[in-house]
Symmetry: C2
Subunit: 190 residues, 2 copies
């Protein structure tokens, strides 16, 4: 159950056996069925989630009722509304499962306690966030710079398998395109 988590952490920092044991106490296990919510907009995001199995999406709904996906996450990803999680603000994101999903959850309090008990996690998260920042920077540039066609190419390069796993209209939303545009762009690449 913790194998993937430890593996993920140890890509960035090393954990002693003691660290691993300590870590297990901070997390709780949770299963979500497809379409179940992990977090709803307007609620406080009480937990940070690590995906051990399945896939989720985090998204906002605009005035017109359109869904805008900010993150697609599967095994090995962390997912939450960070601002809400850290500052106990109302979440602007909703998160739900797009497959049957298994998660390891940690509360805000335990997140802080974990940093204290296993200080190397401070470093782990610093590095994790650092990398996410660089990735988001690229996404932002890409989103501001490129046409749908170029974005599609970049997506397929980054995640060649994504179309085999995630419904296409969700990917479209993640990329800031309508399903129709996505479909048309895809056609050009066949």
């Amino acid at each position: 159950m913790f194998k993937l988590l430890f593996a993920q952490i140890q890509e960035k920092v090393s954990l002693s056996e003691k660290d691993k044991e300590d870590l297990t106490f901070f997390f709780t296990f949770k299963k979500l069925r497809k379409k179940q919510f992990l977090l709803q907009e307007g609620h406080i995001c009480k937990q940070l989630a690590f995906v051990t199995k399945g896939a989720l999406k985090s998204y906002t709904i605009d005035e017109k009722g359109n869904e805008h996906i900010s993150l697609l996450g599967w095994e090995g990803w962390w997912i939450s509304d960070f601002r809400s999680f850290i500052y106990s603000e109302d979440a602007i994101l909703s998160i739900d499962a797009i497959e049957d999903t298994e998660l390891l959850l940690i509360t805000r309090q335990d997140y802080e306690a974990m940093m204290f008990k296993v200080p190397v996690m401070e470093r782990y998260f610093r590095i994790l966030y650092q990398n996410s920042l660089a990735t988001k920077d690229r996404r932002l540039i890409s989103s501001n710079t490129y046409t749908a066609e170029e974005k599609y190419r970049q997506l397929i390069e980054s995640y060649p398998q994504i179309l085999q796993r995630i419904p296409q209209h969700l990917i479209a939303s993640y990329m800031g395109l309508t399903p129709e545009t996505f479909s048309r762009v895809k056609k050009k690449f066949l």
Copy 2:
């Protein structure tokens, strides 16, 4: 010289006098004249920079020669190509001064040494990155969701003074709009 840096850090974590003294040894002071480079694309980003005075932009140039600004930073901001800084990869970003600028610089080695010597900085950067992540998430959603007009409104809400300071075509680029579109949108708000 370090006042702003300490103030900034102490918004998130507390520093002892000893911490402050320790910190001063890791940073070097640098002045940049307007238009001077801090970092050029393709080079390794050797330093992380804290802006004590002035303003800079980080950006990429696409195949067509268009500049795409990913960050505008002024007093109190950290700026660098993080991926390049951390992994010694070639930078995809260039950074230069849009005003005469003063910086505190820290090298990769000293950055790591600082985390070791002043452990609370690990926490500081974790929080800093965490917040930046949340901000970038919103920018990304905004970039994918809203029209130029709505983006303009959000910009003015977030940074009411920015037009008085930063040339308009740079703001346009930061927002992923052409200068012409930005000008036309602005006109509607007068």
